[in-house]
């Protein structure tokens, strides 16, 4: 038994990364960025607002949170809708109470189906981030390029029709991209994407069709990861976010640098009656931190220029 000799060839084994998207960069040697508030820590709240068709598609993959049981999966279809109808409004009230402007990563289907929600988001001054068409709109290699281009355009068109504004940012479902995605997003005129989780500051990402900014929204700090996947309590989630803030703030202070803390939350997770109080407690605590300010992903991405 032996392996194809090519398996022991390493053609990209040289200085730097094994791709041309971005150069290596040590976070702690980066030139400083400044947030619009002038505060040391930008707290970026990103809410995923999603519509799961009761007929799930598995190409290229089934989205996390999608239908589970044989058709018709009332339990998951309606539990996700609960997040949109009820949990999200609890969150909007919680954000308003602390004056937080947030980024809502919304499926185009949310705008098409529930324009009132989009109006309510905009009325509170929040930002809309394009988040594909609906939860069947997953992307991965294998999705034909023309279909992916059309999916991105459909999501942007649906949101623009209702908001009157072309979204400036994109977040893929499950942060999953194909090799074409960054280029297609740049060609679609998007200023930033929020899929790559390799950093704690925005950075430039070369696509082959010009640069786009990647604003990292750390999946490890998301409620889906901590509460849904790792099965920890809402109180533990809050404690972990407070610990993360304390660490990031202490580094920012020591270096005289600005940093970001991404809070990625989901209406059908943290918007439940027994969890929303924990989120409200976290938001109140963050709002009382002298060195923190709430910023949208657009504001954070724009700080790079």
């Amino acid at each position: 038994m032996s392996l194809d000799p090519a398996y022991l060839d390493y053609p990209l084994r040289k200085r730097g990364m094994d791709h041309g998207y971005y150069p290596y960069s040590n976070l702690f040697e980066r030139p400083p960025l400044a947030w619009p508030s002038g505060k040391a820590v930008a707290v970026a709240i990103v809410v995923n607002l999603e519509w799961f068709p009761i007929l799930p598609a598995d190409k290229p993959f089934r989205a996390p949170g999608h239908m589970v049981t044989p058709y018709p999966d009332y339990r998951h279809y309606t539990a996700r809708e609960y997040g949109t109808r009820v949990g999200f409004y609890r969150m909007l009230d919680a954000f308003a109470k602390v004056g937080a402007r947030v980024s809502v990563a919304a499926n185009g289907a949310i705008a098409e189906r529930y324009p009132q929600i989009i109006a309510d988001i905009l009325a509170d001054g929040h930002e809309i981030v394009a988040h594909s068409t609906d939860m069947n709109g997953t992307i991965a290699s294998g999705l034909p390029e023309d279909e992916e281009r059309a999916l991105i355009a459909a999501a942007l068109d649906a949101l623009e029709r209702v908001t009157g504004m072309r979204p400036r940012g994109w977040m893929s479902i499950a942060r999953s991209q194909s090799f074409n995605t960054p280029r297609l997003l740049a060609e679609a005129g998007l200023a930033y994407m929020a899929d790559w989780v390799n950093d704690e500051l925005p950075y430039r990402f070369e696509t082959g069709a010009g640069a786009i900014v990647n604003v990292p929204v750390n999946h490890e700090l998301s409620d889906r990861q901590i509460v849904t996947v790792q099965q920890q309590s809402a109180d533990s989630y809050v404690e972990q976010m407070m610990d993360a803030y304390a660490l990031i703030k202490s580094e920012a202070s020591a270096l005289g640098a600005s940093r970001m803390l991404p809070l990625n939350v989901t209406p059908y997770v943290m918007g439940l009656p027994y969890r929303i109080g924990a989120l409200e407690r976290l938001l109140g605590w963050l709002a009382n931190q002298d060195d923190a300010a709430f910023h949208s992903l657009s504001e954070i991405g724009a700080a790079l220029r």
Partner: protein, 291 residues
């Protein structure tokens, strides 16, 4: 190992009860070594017929960028915390890091950390290699680390824990003294090899940060508590080895490094720990205990 047999014949059975106690330097009770995995995962590696590199089609954006976070952010955070409390690292190294990101390797070397091989990339597996291919992998590891750091590797942790039936014999033949791939004991012990002398170095999957966070789904504070309990017990028993195997992309996260630093503070203050490197433990053991 005895290939194809039910018992691979890796080592002799030696029950824990009744062993002569191992003595660590200065009367310390437990040898503690911290093992950051410094790894390079490829975005689009070739396929090994026995195991997929990534669970998703390439590019696996979250999988790849999560690992890359370790080199851009996590390493620097973890290394500073370890240095603050006087812990050297014993690095399980994807040796291609010496070419790709030599600044990370140089930082670890400047802190007095030891390097052992964890393969070329953590996306290239040993499954299916013939003997010549596996020799090339071992020779590449020895040469690459020597050229980058001046160190001669003493140990081996198979790339992504992928082995062949001849790996242990080969690394012993090349003069390596310890393997981190066997999990049968809290003390070093002899491994049966065709030539040379090889010992097993207690590593740990159970208290590996990957297991802590993604197998046992612990919170950062629960994981820190687990490490302290592991330490307390092994220090109480004495003559033991405790390894803390880490990945900067996991433990270097902002919600985890603070609780972890409390573990380092606890062990450093306790006074019973020989805080050292895996190679130093192997050298000490091999001098104290006849093969």
């Amino acid at each position: 190992m005895r290939e194809g047999e039910k018992d691979p014949g890796l080592y002799d059975f030696r029950p824990y009860r009744g062993r002569p106690k191992l003595a660590w330097p200065d009367g310390k009770q437990v040898a503690v070594w911290v093992s950051p995995n410094i790894e390079f995962y490829e975005l689009d590696p070739p396929a090994n017929p026995h195991r997929k590199s990534w669970p998703r089609p390439h590019p696996d954006v979250v999988g790849y960028s999560h690992r890359d976070y370790g080199n851009r952010v996590g390493h620097w955070r973890l290394a500073e915390a370890m240095s603050r409390h006087g812990f050297p690292g014993s690095v399980s190294l994807s040796v291609a890091m010496c070419q790709h990101l030599p600044e990370v390797v140089a930082d670890a070397a400047a802190r007095g950390w030891e390097f052992f091989s964890h393969g070329i990339y953590n996306t290239r597996y040993s499954y299916g290699m013939d003997e010549a291919q596996e020799r090339a992998l071992i020779e590449d590891s020895i040469r690459t680390v020597r050229e980058a750091t001046g160190q001669t590797i003493k140990g081996w942790l198979a790339p992504a824990l992928t082995h062949t039936p001849r790996t242990l014999d080969l690394i012993a033949e090349y003069g390596l003294s310890y393997t981190c791939d066997l999990y049968h004991d809290d003390q070093p012990g002899e491994v049966h090899v065709k030539s040379g002398r090889l010992i097993s170095m207690p590593y740990s999957l159970e208290v590996n940060d990957h297991y802590g966070f993604f197998v046992y789904n612990m919170s950062p504070r629960d994981y820190a508590d687990t490490l302290i309990r592991q330490y307390q017990r092994l220090a109480d028993e004495g003559g033991t080895v405790m390894c803390i195997p880490l990945h900067a992309y996991l433990i270097g996260q902002p919600h985890r490094i603070g609780p972890f630093e409390e573990v380092l503070r606890h062990i450093a203050a306790d006074g019973r720990a020989w805080i050292t490197r895996s190679g130093d433990i192997a050298d000490h053991y091999m001098q104290q205990v006849a093969a």
